[in-house]
């Protein structure tokens, strides 16, 4: 009997402990976040390499100016931000937004703006005298109904053709400026047994990037932008022409492209196994990490027929509604948009600043050239990186591209794009 009572007591204790555990974790959850709300949470997917170093340099600079503000670096690792985006979505939906978060300018940012989750930042721009400091095309990407909603920090360029200098010199070739040039060069290389174009589209978006660059070339910046607003339909002849060129290009790519990631494709060019690669200018960081030098070992030109155009991938930060200390966040955003902040961050990350009045001497040769182009070129949003259109549309385009790369059926491809474009009107 005594034994049984003892057992009963244990059972009650266990139950109590579990219940207490539940309620405890709950209260510590809310309690924790309320105490954390005193801190400035910076949410990003910059966890490794130059990106993490850049963020740290930025935070250090901010800390010098405002030693009292406690900063929480809440970077989430993995998958080009896909993990971070999932975490962010959960927090935003749960009404627990981070103080500020990394988001690509364009459609990705506007999803949150349209949902009424972001504060307009016009007063911040006015207060800091930022008018005219950023290119107008860029401000358009972070604006909705005439109001500005985010501060762009960095710029990457998407329409870059990387090539192996040695291969081009050995064969007496010039980097192609037009698609006719491209195919001439590619034929010569192919005859020599060199893979003309390296693609690594294990994650599909790499191919989507190649296609968007052809689209930009064939449509021009204005029509290209209108594609995403539904003003230009996907059965436009220029889109079909782009698909035809894309199809022809696929005859010149490495056979194992679907097993490679973008770095592997860049590596093929670095190793001299392939001559060219179309990739955003984060590829520069990869070449550099392999000890290769710009303009000696590898070269970079804009993708064919996109001279004067700049495919923009930009990371921006905004102010979510419902954060506890918006003043602190605004101070941080001010730092992000300042010349100091941008020059602390970008040289380390290997990107160029979103402002056009920063200190050029802090950047490498490739970036100097990109900064010049950035000032004067027509800026267009990248589809593959979520700036041109919502993710739901992008997923469908990626699916169409993945099928197209194998089946090479232009009519089916155009139809799939047309079907997907119903997602644009949401």
């Amino acid at each position: 009997m005594f034994k049984r009572l003892g057992m009963f007591a244990i059972a009650v204790l266990v139950l109590a402990a579990v219940l207490a555990g539940c309620s405890n974790s709950k209260s510590s959850g809310s309690g924790g976040s309320s105490s954390e709300k005193g801190k400035l949470e910076i949410f990003s997917w910059w966890t490794a390499g130059g990106e993490a170093d850049g963020l740290k340099a930025l935070i250090d600079d901010f800390h010098k100016k405002y030693p009292d503000i406690k900063i929480e670096n809440e970077a989430v690792a993995g998958g080009a931000g896909s993990n971070a985006k999932a975490v962010l979505a959960t927090r935003m939906q749960g009404g627990d937004p981070p103080s500020t978060f990394q988001v690509h300018g364009g459609a990705e940012l506007l999803t949150w703006v349209k949902a009424g989750k972001m504060e307009a930042l016009d007063s911040l721009y006015k207060k800091n005298g930022w008018d005219g400091k950023f290119p107008k095309d860029l401000i358009d990407m972070v604006s909705y109904n005439g109001k500005i909603y985010a501060v762009p920090v960095d710029i990457h360029r998407g329409n870059v053709l990387w090539y192996n200098k040695k291969i081009f010199e050995d064969n007496g070739l010039e980097p192609p400026k037009t698609f006719d040039d491209f195919f001439k060069v590619a034929d010569k290389l192919k005859a020599k047994g060199i893979t003309p174009l390296a693609i690594g589209d294990k994650d599909v978006w790499e191919s989507t990037m190649v296609f968007e660059n052809i689209l930009l070339a064939k449509l021009g910046p204005d029509k290209y932008r209108q594609l995403w607003t539904g003003e230009v339909p996907f059965d436009d002849p220029a889109v079909k022409e782009a698909a035809d060129i894309f199809k022809k290009m696929l005859n010149y790519v490495n056979a194992d492209h679907s097993s490679l990631a973008w770095q592997d494709a860049t590596q093929l060019v670095a190793d001299g196994k392939a001559a060219m690669n179309i990739m955003g200018d984060w590829a520069k960081g990869y070449f550099t990490s392999k000890g290769l030098k710009y303009d000696q070992d590898y070269g970079a030109v804009v993708t064919p027929e996109t001279d004067g155009m700049f495919m923009v991938i930009t990371d921006t930060f905004g102010l979510p509604k419902g954060v506890s200390k918006p003043d602190q966040v605004k101070k941080f955003l001010t730092e992000l948009g300042s010349v100091d902040g941008q020059d602390a961050f970008n040289p380390k990350k290997g990107s160029i600043p979103a402002r056009t009045d920063t200190d050029v001497s802090k950047y490498d040769d490739y970036s100097k050239k990109a900064m010049e182009d950035f000032k004067s070129n027509s800026l267009t949003p990248s589809l593959a990186h979520g700036s041109a259109a919502p993710e739901s549309f992008l997923t469908k385009v990626n699916q169409a591209v993945n099928i197209f790369v194998t089946q090479k059926n232009v009519a089916n491809f155009i139809q799939a794009l047309k079907d997907a474009s119903s997602q644009l009107k949401q």
């Binding site: 009963f8 059972a11 009650v12 579990v18 896909s82 979505a89 949150w112 679907s258 097993s259 739901s392």
Partner: protein, 325 residues
Amino acid sequence: MLEREALETAEVTPAIKTKKRKRAGLSKDRWLAFLFLLPSIILLAIFVYGFISWTAYVSVSRWHSLLPDFTFAGLANYQALFHNFRFQADLRNTLFFSVFFIVLVVLLGQMLAIFIDQRLKAESLFRNIFLFPMALSFVVTGVVWRWILNPETGVNLLLKDFGIHPKWYTDTSIVPSWHIGQIDFGLPVALIAVVIAAVWQMTGFSLAMYLAGLRAIPEDVREAARIDGASEFQIYRKIILPQLKPITYSVVIIMAHISLKIFDLIYAMTGPGANYVTDMPGVFMFETTFRGNDYAQGAAIAIIMLIMVAVFIIPYLISSRKGES
């Protein structure tokens, strides 16, 4: 996780049953048992069944972007799914992957177990060698096999000398490629590479199960057969293998639920593959939900996966309950 649960329930439930028969009514013991179970019942109810119902609810909603929208959409999401090229390809891939994976794991596991059961000198060494892959995560297996089977740099460097050059997981051909729905139906050749990796990893598990089964067969049975003049081959064919049937049953069930839900191996090794030749519903679900932010569509895929697994597991649970009583 699930394997262990399946095994445990099989062992534990009889004990409870006999107790129940001895004492009818609500004794203190039963109250106590109930009290002990209560926390896990509550947790299961919320975190398993609650969330399953929530997923089912989302799957009939119009939640297609980051912002929840719970208007009722009927079966529209399911309809869209079955008209989707990628999902049709996924179903084909799951079918072929599961069949090849399960058959090979069962056959190889059985063979190796019988082999190890021959009182080898270095028995424990062999056992460990075959069991080791099981200790790895599918992600590790995936990365390693991606390198090994890379058509340009992997095992092909060896095979090249023999004049063969398989494209492994980059092969986009499908045999025999009958056109059904939007897809070509047949075995996607690229899947063979994935099957090799998965079999390599899971054969150890089936080996362990069969070895345990073999060891559970008393030596007297074999001896009696030998006295009756049966050859070793006959002993295995007529006496031992029939007794291993329940083990085969368990192995098939456990492998089936692994293959139907497979995600990590595919994700680490091949990704969806060109033309979706190595895609699986799990990968599609992840990308739809967390990349494309199409929560309703993703939930619909998850529910279909649940149904596919249930088709295997529920008969198993029912029959194992019958076996006990």
